[in-house]
Symmetry: C2
DNA sequence: CTAAAATATGAATAAAGGTTCACGATCACA
DNA sequence: TGTGATCGTGAACCTTTATTCATATTTTAG
């Protein structure tokens, strides 16, 4: 085959990439529905309407397929978040931007959430995460970024002086359980739980009478 | 064998029960370390110093062993929580009691946490939970109990009027990520993160200047 | 049009691991 | 001490499933 001019992919190559994507889509669907171990490659291939052999032509093995899935979407997510952080000015606004972005991103991509939440919750505890080292380090970087935002808010006298690592855990914890609830109940989403409420809980807490602007 | 007088177990029966417990302990250790699918019964039996056959004599299968493990400890946890709720008077105090109990319980029983958190996070989202119906319903009851507490606090004018289901998700979310962090880092625990801080975040939020008693 | 290269297939392979069961050891009780 | 019940063993069995590979099909380019 002639080497197509740099950057340009032949029709065939583009098609191949598209087929690869179809497999990733099927995998995302099934992994999110049944988890890694209860999904077999046969099913994935079938769902994508390819043969197992082809799947193995595209991906080295089941585990790497899974990891690639996660890495790609996570990358997309982190990227979007960073952009929104840049667009906001004060630490509180940046934090709000993080919340909005997260809620929006996982509102689309609910499937991905079940995969990602599972993994990331295991990252701070349980069994061996099935996440690539690469992706884990990006996740840590993301957490650090949030910590920095919080810390700078503290320095600016806008936030109480909590350890920023704890604050970030709180943010992640709240959002994850709530998004999980969306994914679970399926139906309603951003409407069922107003993001505003999450912000208020995080910023002003449960105690009554604190919400004078 | 003579039927021992009601309630009294023969030495043999007691021993059997004890051996059963040894298997449960080994299972807890391994499941928490490596997860359900990556732990095989062979290992569990070996770790408990019994044969696979004996394990299958005590438990119908791997899945039920897992479920029993969860159910037993979860039951213990819910029980403890209910007790502490009874001992507190106002809704805020009850909520504080819930937090303290949770933190304390999982400070001991870290192993169990990796199992339980995994499961309960999946209960509101992802893949099929490996939790018995029975245990799930008790978990829901527990959540309802917390919701009631919050709601009554709202009625008493002590809490902001957030939907109680959201408030409970927030509580569970924050505590789970933080406990997860303990389990993860292994080292420090109740000392590394003062429970006080968690309370303050939940009650008064991040915003500075709200913590006049 | 044709040969080499790239694609795609799915039956066959092999490894892993859950479950069973025939049997030996041990205990309770006379 | 004898005998039946209970306890405990682990090798063998069998299902499941990730992975391979010989083969068929399609494309490319000369």
């Amino acid at each position: 085959m002639v080497d197509p001019e740099d950057g340009q992919l032949s029709r065939r190559q583009r098609e191949r990439l598209w087929h690869r994507q179809l497999i990733l889509d099927a995998a995302e669907k099934l992994f999110s529905r049944k988890g890694f171990y209860q999904t077999n490659v046969q099913e994935i291939a079938e769902d994508a309407e390819f043969s197992v052999g082809f799947l193995y032509n595209m991906f080295e093995n089941k585990e790497l397929l899974y990891q690639e899935l996660i890495t790609a979407r996570a990358e997309e997510y982190f990227q979007k978040t960073y952009e929104q952080i840049e667009n906001a000015n004060t630490p509180p606004d940046k934090l709000r931007a993080v919340l909005r972005t997260k809620l929006n991103f996982f509102e689309r991509h609910r499937r991905f959430f079940s995969i990602f939440a599972n993994i990331s919750s295991q990252m701070d505890s349980g069994p061996p995460p099935m996440m690539s080292e690469d992706c884990m380090s990006r996740y840590r970087k993301y957490q650090q970024k949030l910590e920095e935002i919080f810390a700078s808010g503290v320095r600016a006298g806008e936030f109480e002086d909590f350890p920023s690592s704890v604050a970030v855990l709180a943010i992640e914890g709240i959002t994850n359980t709530i998004i999980g609830q969306w994914v679970h109940t399926g139906k309603n989403a951003l409407e069922s739980i107003d993001p505003e409420i999450i912000e208020r809980i995080l910023f002003d807490g449960f105690r009554a009478g604190r919400n004078e602007k």
